[in-house]
């Protein structure tokens, strides 16, 4: 079992890299005095979704990927199952 988990262990560096990219995108906005684009987008998108579905703050994930040519913004909103759906 422990041997299997050793083989299947997810490498941690990509996680670190992603966390840093998101964090620094936020912080650079704050320090530079410019509007924080990612945070602002997150709030506004959340507000729109909330008009229709109640979504918890923690169920929203925003990812920003920067490549040489393009940047992509990935937003994942976890919508709760409707009450009594099952």
């Amino acid at each position: 079992m422990s041997l299997m988990s050793f083989f299947n262990r997810r490498t941690s560096a990509p996680v670190a890299r992603e966390r840093l990219q998101i964090l620094l995108a936020h912080e650079r906005g704050i320090v530079g005095g410019k509007p924080d684009l990612v945070a602002q987008l997150r709030e506004e998108i959340l507000a729109v979704v909330r008009r229709h579905v109640m979504v918890e703050h923690q169920n929203v994930q925003v990812k920003m990927n920067r490549d040489a040519d393009i940047s992509t913004l990935e937003i994942e909103v976890e919508i709760p199952a409707p009450v009594g759906a099952r």
């Binding site: 840093l20 912080e27 320090v31």
Partner: protein, 271 residues
Amino acid sequence: MAKVLVVTSGKGGVGKTTSSAALGAALAHGGDKVVVIDFDVGLRNLDLVMGAERRVVFDLINVVQGDAKLSQALIRDKRLENLSLLPASQTRDKDALTEEGVARVLSDLREKFDWIICDSPAGIERGATMAMRHADVAVVVTNPEVSSVRDSDRIIGLLDSKTEKAENGDRIEKHLLLTRYDPARAERGEMLKVDDVLEILSIPLIGIIPESEEVLRASNVGSPVTLNNPASAPGRAYFDAARRLKGETVELTIPSEKKGLLGKLFGRRAA
């Protein structure tokens, strides 16, 4: 006219003092006249790392406040005659460093040396901003680790806004020095790779110092790693970084894992 270089990082314990001593010794070894200044008032350590702790009589604050002459406070290295140290005070209060006093000391030193290396204290407080204030060049020391990269980003922001050069509309020359790099762990995806850190911080790389026992061994005996063991991996990496600081083009290879037989077997299975 001297170049003022600040060795800075934000986070503590990433190797600023080690790097200041190693780069200073490497530049002095190449024939330049170098002074390394400890700006960490209260927590001085550069004297210890350079093996001059028992020779400190006067310090930076004594000079700034006019209690001692610059020539009295400068400690000449016993191994390299064109390497000097200006130690920090251990006892006095941090606010004793005045901006005008530091500016005066640096301008006096500029006439005597080719390089003035300012070893910054950690953090973003007064001491750190004082150390970077008059710099022409900055070496940002970073470990491949999240907290270190974040703090370096913050420091780069300060270098671009709070230095004299930045305030005059100039750009301060910034370089990244990646320390404690372990190629084996990076290859296994357990440590941020060089490219990751470079992409996130986007300042040019001046060197990669591999994680090595030599660094501790050198500081144990109070000798910059570039003097204690110039042929060691970190020693060579610092020498290369010093040459790049002087504007030479030195090929930079990202250290890769050197595997023994056991390592090969083990590495392949773990991958």
